[in-house]
Symmetry: C2
Subunit: 342 residues, 2 copies
């Protein structure tokens, strides 16, 4: 930043022989300024190459028009879509996004929260890291009345709003679908069960089974980190099961695909021998063979909802913590990997 002589409202005031306040008011179209002066002020500002000093403004107004965003990883299909959605809404409303990633660790997440706090974001949107247990690092945020929204991976935390999908319903739907296709022994591959998303999907899985009078078999529950390697490992575990499961509900597409490919290599026929349902509707899901049945939910939409709520709250339109949880719809996308009947 060049430090030689930025043009200030004083310079404009001087040139126009009015007071700085008149300039300040004129610039932002304050009502009690004659439209004549307004025009003059703006013209002069333009002419002198004036740009408002945002620090001074923030210093006075105590707000930044910036929304902080902390996500586990920026480069996933879902997250980048969610951020794209937030960016769009934020931008339309004159807000900026300050973005950081926790890289799935609680430690980094804490630092991120501090940074956001230091930078005095007006609001904060967070999707929790994989291993975050303690949420006390959000205390300063709440204590300072900074509106906080968790999205997708949310925590049980006072006075924060949540934007999530109906994970229970989605899990229920996925497993019911498998049951309808005639599956009797359905395995479930999932992640850290203290994350709401996986916990709720598991509940949906159990409920669907019980609705079909099938009792939950803990052996069929495989828990890992949902990496591709974990998908391969899970496939091996499943191949060792006796009797062999005839259906799998995997709580993420990418390990689902890794798992499916491994099974295929062992001459397992998908979906005839084992039907598979994933989660996320990643682009890959419709590119592989057989195409993967999965749960679709719109990241962009979720991002928009998050930003919209945060901004409405900041504008004072309504209080965010009243609307405590917003649940977005999902849909089951049925493709070849699970479809046994026409």
């Amino acid at each position: 930043m060049k430090d030689n002589k930025e043009v200030t409202i004083y310079d404009i005031a001087e040139a126009l022989e009015v007071s700085p306040s008149t300039v300040s008011r004129g610039l932002k179209g304050h009502q009690s300024i004659s439209s004549d002066t307004k025009k003059k002020v703006k013209a002069q500002a333009q002419k002198m190459g004036y740009r408002s000093n945002i620090f001074a403004k923030n210093l006075r107004r105590k707000k930044t028009n910036t929304i902080g965003v902390i996500v586990p990883k920026l480069n996933s299909h879902f997250m980048s879509s969610a951020i794209a959605g937030m960016e769009k809404i934020a931008n339309e409303n004159g807000y900026n996004l300050l973005i950081s990633q926790s890289l799935e660790t609680e430690q980094k997440e804490k630092t991120n929260v501090e940074t956001m706090f230091e930078n005095r974001v007006d609001g904060l949107a967070v999707s929790l890291a994989y291993d975050t247990n303690d949420l006390s690092h959000f205390d300063p945020i709440i204590e300072n009345d900074i509106p906080l929204i968790f999205f997708d991976r949310v925590g049980y935390y006072k006075s924060a709003a949540n934007v999530i999908i109906d994970n229970f319903q989605a899990g229920y739907q996925a497993v019911t679908h498998l049951l309808e296709q005639g599956c009797k022994r359905i395995a479930h591959i999932t992640g850290n069960l203290s994350r709401n998303v996986y916990e709720d999907r598991l509940k949906g899985y159990k409920k669907a089974l019980s609705d079909y009078d099938i009792s939950f078999n803990p052996e069929y529950l495989i828990q890992n980190d949902l990496s591709d390697e974990a998908g391969v490992e899970a496939a091996k575990t499943i191949l060792d099961m006796k009797p062999l499961p005839d259906g799998i509900f995997v709580t993420s597409d990418s390990p689902a695909i890794a798992c499916m490919n491994t099974l295929k290599k062992q001459k397992i026929n998908i979906p005839a021998d084992i039907a598979i349902v994933g989660f996320n509707n990643d682009p890959i899901a419709s590119y592989i063979e057989p195409k993967l049945t999965t749960i679709n939910y719109h990241g962009t939409e979720m991002g928009k909802v998050v930003a919209r709520n945060l901004i409405n709250h900041l504008k004072g339109d309504y209080n965010i913590s009243v609307t405590n949880t917003i649940i977005l719809g999902t849909e089951l996308v049925i493709r070849a990997s699970s479809q046994r009947k026409p």
Copy 2:
């Protein structure tokens, strides 16, 4: 943000019966302060729940420790990786990222630049929108000595640094590979040729052909917007060509795959009838059948390089515009879609 009584250095000064300047110095570990006072100051700050006011600081220091990033779209594999890379480096160096997307339009890009300027980012990293022609909206950036780096999709613009991959070389390599596989009639599907990336890849394509004494046939050059639909259309165009091409170099994976699938439906054997090479090494490339040969380049790496250079420049380690263009390596990933020989 709560507006009731934030703790300031004055409060600390008062409590400790020292001057504000001493507190200011103590807090940042200034050399000319006794380590005893430093300790006291820090302890007191901690005790009173002090947090520095970043606006006041910025107002004085005229810098924000923020780097602006403008990309066409956040939610592509490459871009989100690049941003993840930047975020990492920025964060390690105490910088924040202010991110916005141009959604591929020059108009939005202009607004974004203005916003970045208004927000006084210390540096700016930009990947150009698909349809940006005129670069004059970057003039204020340069005029105010804000370091500017273009990455991936760069422009010919004075005093901005570029971080790119060697598109010429990559195109050359891709096409040479097709030629080595025995292709004689190679079509090329590409995008807006006023974007360096596509322009240079085309040059590489031509050079490879000429090295094999094959003259460039403009009929084989298909230009579109690189969407999936465009890939399907391109496939149809190709099917109408007589003689049929026996190789295609597509300058992006996703239309390459759309194109390949369309060809497959018409009973074209890939790679026997037509060999295909894509570009980007998107995750899908290795999931489809046949797996797609493509050019790999690391978004994360590029993001890191961009951030590192910007920050080094800001720290005064060296001048960015001297190192005008940084070229990162790519590699050809040979997979089934192009491999005719073992």
